[in-house]
Amino acid sequence: MAKEAGFPFSVTVDDSAGTARDISNDISNLQFATPRGVQDVTGVNKSALERLLLLADMSVTLNGAAFNDAANLSHAVFKTVPSSSVARTTTLALSGQTLAAELLYSDYALTRGQDGSLTWTAPGVLADGTVPTWT
């Protein structure tokens, strides 16, 4: 892939009604934890069921630069996490490719910093075991 000029970087997450919201400008960092190399996984002395569980696992952490309660942005999307249990399509687009995953978020945690900043964290896991792939 050639290096691109400009940076199409976007993160969209469904709100509780299932409408995709672009919250790219609220995200400071994110992590996708995925099973390590498949050879390592299958080489581990684990039962077949555990291997399958591992292969279906992925956890995601979205971290917000600042609390943002503007319409349809991060607070509007995640404020319903404690009161709802819906799978939310989460899409990361970068360098012309897109990764979409169905995630179940478990928290929307706000943190007040000593400098007065108010940041947030939203952790999630795969909702249905479908391995997300880039397209």
Partner: protein, 152 residues
């Protein structure tokens, strides 16, 4: 410097962190963000006005009160007062007290490291990659996972 007040709630992990690797994207505040106006971020306080509550019996409240009255330059009215507690109302159309930021149009820092949110027990060193290389690596990796799962 942010202080973590509590760890966010996560669904219980079924398998140890040593079986995972993490693909991360970061936009550090110092290099990837700039200050923004209330209008640029659609600030509700700017659009609608806002109220704040100050407790003048505390040192913090007194400092807040002095700052607002003598230095902030904002228009406000006192809309409620009981003992040492004061409620101030700031009309719409003026800069709120938050420091807004928006991301710069820069390539984020893309990295791969061992482990997950619990740590990196295998001590696998982190690797930084260009965004396109990171996507390619991640894509290949997920393809392998999918194939292995389909094989069972």
């Amino acid at each position: 410097m942010a202080t973590v007040q509590h760890e966010p709630f996560r669904f219980p992990d079924r398998i140890g962190a040593e079986f995972f690797k993490t693909y991360g994207v970061a936009r550090p505040q110092a290099t990837h963000w700039r200050k923004a106006t209330c209008q640029e971020v659609g600030c509700k306080n700017f659009a609608n006005g806002w109220r704040i509550f100050i407790d003048l019996s505390t040192d913090l409240g007194q400092r807040q009160g002095r700052y607002i009255r003598d230095h902030s330059g904002r228009k406000y009215t006192v809309v409620g007062q009981a003992n040492s507690n004061v409620m101030l109302e700031f009309p719409a159309g003026q800069k709120c007290f938050a420091e807004h930021r928006i991301p710069l149009d820069r390539e984020p820092i893309c990295y791969i490291r061992g482990g997950d949110h619990r740590g990196n027990p295998t001590k696998t060193p982190a690797r930084k990659l260009r965004a396109d290389q990171w996507v390619e690596d991640f894509s290949e990796h997920q393809g392998n996972i999918k194939e292995a799962k389909e094989r069972g």
